[in-house]
Amino acid sequence: MLELPTIQDTMNDRRRINGPAEGTRPPVYASHLKSGGATDRAQRQREPTDLRKIFLKTGLIPSASGSSYLEFAPSSSLANARSNPKSLIPPSSALKLSCTVHGPKPLPRSAAFSPNLVLTTHVKYAPFAARKRKGHIRDASERDLGVHLETALRGAIIAERWPKSGIDLTITILEAEDDRWWADAPDLHDASWGMMNVLAGCITAASAAIADAHIDCLDLVSGGVAALVSDDSTEDSAAAPRLMLDADPAEHRSIMAACVVAYMPARDEITELWLKGESSKIALEKGDQRSAHEALIDGAVDAARGAHSVLSEAVRETMLRAVTPL
């Protein structure tokens, strides 16, 4: 009797012994968690309105017409864990990404006439970027990030100054944010929160690379994240969730809702807005008249303003270096 192979079988390579497709993760034992308790968990050391430090530099890739590299400072828990290791697994990860702009170059021969600049964005995680290994083919979340990034930049670029040409913007994420603390099981409020921070970083880095490529834009557009967080550390579950700027998902037990904006300070305009979570049901602290939506958007805009100060300094620094050679 011959059994027909299932679709799953035909997709896999059955002639060789392959490793697990998903990759492996070191086991986390419950006993270890009990003994370690809450001390192992990364705790936010910053004030709710403090952002992580951002490293941003442009013009690092000579073959591209514009490029940038962005890094978020890792949370202080990482340094603690390194000096006093309780586990092999780092408690949190930070964002590291590089962005290149190629062009303006002619559109492919098959493309239709376009009086405007055609912007193409690609976001790709390096295989080692996240705790779960990423494949070489872009998956849904990477395509999603690409679309969000394109929307954010399209509002900032003056496309009609570059007829018949296109630019390719490629972002490689070298280290991505976690979606939650590594030892936490996915719970009710779980979502890919790390993606929000990644998108904010992508927007800021892409804007720097576009400025480096001397593409006309209305303003430097920067990304910012704010989240409504309920940390039940006070044992008071009725406490209202607090608004945190630039929330690192590894540092919070439960993120209720989060928001990313792409923001242009010179014009006070938002080009991209992405809200996640059930923000409509959340009541803020007493005395705060805003709805949760408004609070999140305001917070994200504040975070974006902070990122913009770094962004404008990075762009200015690159230019001054070119104007006055060493």
């Binding site: 002619p106 239709a112 376009s114 018949k164 480096d212 430097l220 762009v315 200015r316």
Partner: protein, 235 residues
């Protein structure tokens, strides 16, 4: 309202009121204020005297290289400029047909780079031309360059109907032309119907660089054979 102009600007930086200046390249107007669109040095072009026009504010794409550093400085980046109507371009002939010649644009010359004292907007023009005239480099980078057409009637201003394309251009020639139209989805349109436009560099059938002898003839210095071209007036 006498705020001094900033030396350098970054995109989104307010430069001044639109009632005081005219917005030039690299800037845009938002709510009657002029803002920078690119990062670069701010340049104020004074208005023509005896006219009512305002002085023009622009942000330059070129970084003014210091003269004594110009030769050694490797900081010169390659910034793209697009061909626009009336801009002078250098292009390499990739195909010659009965009614038209196809060229690929190597470099767009703007006002700054026409002045030999300044470094060019794009890469060093000399290096572009030497690499472009080398047959080994042909057709590798054409896909990344803007393509253009020189139609038979745009080759020269007189005796347009007597033009034979084979006697005007050959594949591999470097042509100086002026853009007359942005054209369709794939090609720009270029004319060479001026004395200073036409073939500037060409190799003979023997493969030697030729020198111009008249407006329609170039000569091989080694074999002494002459070939027909639509020659640009040498400076």
């Amino acid at each position: 309202m006498t705020t001094p102009l900033p030396q350098v600007a970054i995109p989104g930086q307010c430069l001044g009121s639109a009632s005081k200046y005219t917005a030039g390249p690299g800037t845009h107007i938002q709510q009657s204020n002029i803002y920078a669109s690119i990062a670069g040095p701010v340049i104020l072009d004074p208005a023509q005297p005896n006219t009512q026009t305002k002085s023009t504010l622009r942000v330059s794409r070129t970084i003014p290289a210091k003269p004594h550093l110009a030769s050694t400085s490797k900081l010169k980046d390659r910034y793209n400029t697009l061909p626009a109507v009336n801009s002078i371009v250098l292009a390499r002939v990739t195909r010659v047909q009965k009614r038209q010649a196809t060229v690929s644009i190597l470099v767009v010359l703007d006002e700054d780079s026409l002045d030999p004292a300044q470094t060019s907007d794009n890469d060093n023009i000399a290096s572009i031309l030497t690499s472009a005239a080398n047959p080994e480099n042909h057709s590798t980078t054409d896909e990344l360059r803007f393509q253009a057409l020189i139609r038979k009637e745009d080759v020269r201003a007189v005796e347009k109907d007597r033009v034979v394309m084979d006697e005007m251009f050959r594949v591999g020639d470097i042509v100086r032309g002026s853009v007359i139209s942005l054209g369709d989805q794939s090609f720009y349109y270029i004319t060479t119907s001026r004395n200073d436009l036409g073939v500037v560099m060409a190799r003979s059938e023997g493969g030697n660089m030729m020198f111009p002898v008249s407006w329609k003839e170039m000569r091989d210095p080694i074999t002494n054979a002459s070939e027909l071209r639509k020659v640009a007036r040498p400076y």
